[in-house]
């Protein structure tokens, strides 16, 4: 059963070929057998999953099942889950049991999805390799010596190794798309505001966005349909209807105009990755799409601007962790200042500390104009570049990541090199646009992702564009040999 997609599992459940309880047991057995090699899970909720699966089966008997009822999923450990540890990969929240469900969790529960557990991630979603987690790195199922990408590395590895058919992730600068690319799965970062941030532990609030990760675009469409929607509890939630993302997947691609930004194919892009991406683009031409070269001239400014905006917002968001109401508290604080500083110093790892310090500096008196204001102006330039491009093309395509998965430990001590892994994904967050990564082949035996970028709220177009490619090719069906 584990080789089936969500769409196939959903059909199997509807046809009575297997029950949700059987399905859930099958995936839990795989988690038990394979997770020790991968370290993709922080918490496995086996008993609760089986109870939820039995409830889903009863719901089906009552004829009240939807497409996700009884389908196993996992949540990135950044989403609050009532009664279940929600660690965010950090010592700060190692013993934090969330007192409520995030909106995304609540919505997927309502749809009848069955949570198998919570997945590993870079601490507070800050990282591109899943190596900053308190719980140790996740291993890439295609080669256990390699990183899975990050920060949603546990979700990506779990889907790639068929330990779950689908997962949630979050993406602040590439944290859904880059691990999806490095693990050979499909992942979608929706338009900012499309999916509620309520109960999703905040990193950089003007950039954070939750989204689905699964094997195929069709599966992402099913998951997004359940996750998206207006939420009055998130002040930046978009108040607009959620389309049926599965309805228009099968239209032909004839006449689709794909823009290829010349800045995404230049210096820094690995040659073998470039070749695989070119082949994918050639496949799109065969499918009836037209490709045109475009320019996003301010692309090179995205990483510098991001490393002001994200740390600034992070330093503000993470000020809440003070050791008083919840989270880690140091032993025997001698006074209140000592309680704050030691609880935070002990609770946060080095990458989180770095970003808090950069953000605190950038927002400190006298530096605001030179850093935060300048970065917000650059954000406008980047956004204007995309808007000019979308007057000319329907979708923008390019590599998701400049390289395939790199070795565990290779970049962990060099933050700047690590930051460059997100060179093609970060601008999309700054502009607030939707972006999707789909697997399009292999370089040196490791998966390569193609990134598709759409205009605001064009998730349906991205899913459609990816789905048509997946109807004509089978890259998304390839499984790592050790986990087939």
């Amino acid at each position: 059963m584990h080789e089936k997609t969500i769409a196939q599992l959903s059909a199997g459940l509807a046809a009575g070929e297997f029950s949700s309880e059987e399905l859930t047991r099958a995936f839990l057995e795989r988690v038990e057998r394979f997770n020790p090699q991968l370290n993709a899970f922080i918490t496995v909720t086996a008993e609760a999953a089986l109870a939820r699966a039995r409830a889903a089966d009863q719901r089906r008997h009552r004829d009240e099942a939807g497409p996700l009822t009884g389908v196993p999923i996992v949540h990135k450990d950044i989403f609050c889950t009532e009664g279940v540890r929600t660690s965010c990969g950090s010592r700060m929240l190692d013993r934090f049991v969330a007192p409520y469900d995030a909106t995304v969790v609540e919505k997927l529960n309502t749809a009848g999805a069955v949570m198998l557990g919570k997945t590993n991630m870079d601490e507070f979603a800050m990282g591109s390799s899943n190596e900053t987690s308190l719980y140790g790195p996740v291993h890439n199922p295609w080669d256990l010596a390699m990183v899975p990408g990050g920060s949603s590395g546990g979700s990506a590895a779990a889907v790639a190794a068929r330990l779950t058919p689908g997962a949630t992730g979050t993406d602040t600068g590439g944290s859904i798309r880059q691990p999806a690319a490095l693990c050979g799965i499909t992942g979608l970062k929706p338009t900012y505001g499309r999916v509620s941030r309520w109960g999703m532990i905040a990193y950089a609030s003007s950039l954070d966005q939750g989204g689905p990760m699964a094997r195929s675009a069709e599966d992402c469409a099913l998951l997004l349909g359940a996750m998206a929607g207006f939420d009055p509890r998130d002040s930046t939630s978009a108040d607009r209807p959620v389309p049926d993302y599965t309805a228009l997947l099968d239209r032909p691609l004839d006449g689709l105009k794909i823009g290829l930004p010349k800045e995404y194919f230049g210096e820094g892009l690995d040659g073998a990755v470039a070749q695989v991406v070119e082949e994918a683009i050639a496949e799109y031409r065969k499918l009836g799409a037209e490709t045109v070269e475009i320019s996003l001239p301010n692309s090179r400014l995205a990483i510098p601007a991001y490393y002001v905006i994200a740390p600034a917002e992070c330093s503000s968001n993470l000020a809440r962790f003070d050791g008083v109401r919840y989270g880690h508290r140091c032993e025997n604080p001698k006074d209140l200042l000592d309680l704050y500083t030691r609880s935070r110093g002990e609770g946060f790892g080095p990458e989180v500390t770095r970003r808090i310090l950069v953000g605190t500096f950038a927002l400190s008196a006298g530096y605001y104009d030179a850093y935060y204001l300048k970065a917000q102006q650059i954000r406008r330039l980047i956004s204007d570049d995309f808007q000019r491009a979308f007057q000319q093309v329907d979708v923008i395509a390019g590599p998701t990541s400049p390289t395939v998965a790199f070795k565990l430990g290779e970049k962990v001590d060099d933050p700047i090199t690590m930051y460059l892994s997100d060179i093609y994904t970060i601008a999309v967050n700054l502009a607030g646009l939707p972006g999707l990564s789909l697997p399009v082949g292999f370089a040196a035996g490791l998966p390569v992702g193609l990134q598709l970028i759409g205009d605001y709220f064009a998730e349906d177009r991205l899913l459609h564009t990816a789905h048509r490619y997946q109807q004509a090719t089978d890259w998304h069906l390839r499984a790592p040999a050790a986990f087939a």
Partner: protein, 95 residues
């Protein structure tokens, strides 16, 4: 811009973050490298460009001024490091 150990210690204090003395030089090196990366922004002419705070330039919604949250003090205090008689305990602030 490059930051020295004294500046890192000052920023850490502003952030209420205890950093071990032996880790300060490494943070100074990393932070200086990050600020060097960030300085690439200066190549862009942004005179007259309106800063973008929200990707969709939306304004924040206002909700009606009504009570929406029930009292869940006991539920929330169950995860607190130290409580007594419904209060969060911290070290004495006033001697």
């Amino acid at each position: 811009m490059s930051l020295g150990p004294a500046e890192v210690a000052k920023i850490a204090h502003l952030a209420r973050l205890a950093i071990r003395d032996e880790d300060v030089p490494a943070y100074a090196r990393n932070l200086s490298a990050i600020l060097e990366l960030v300085a690439q922004m200066n190549a862009a002419d942004t005179a007259g460009v309106a800063p973008m705070a929200h990707p969709l330039d939306m304004t924040q919604r206002l909700r009606s001024d009504a009570v929406t949250e029930p009292d869940q003090r006991e539920h929330f205090q169950a995860i607190a490091p130290q409580v007594e008689a419904g209060l969060y305990l911290v070290p004495k602030v006033i001697e």
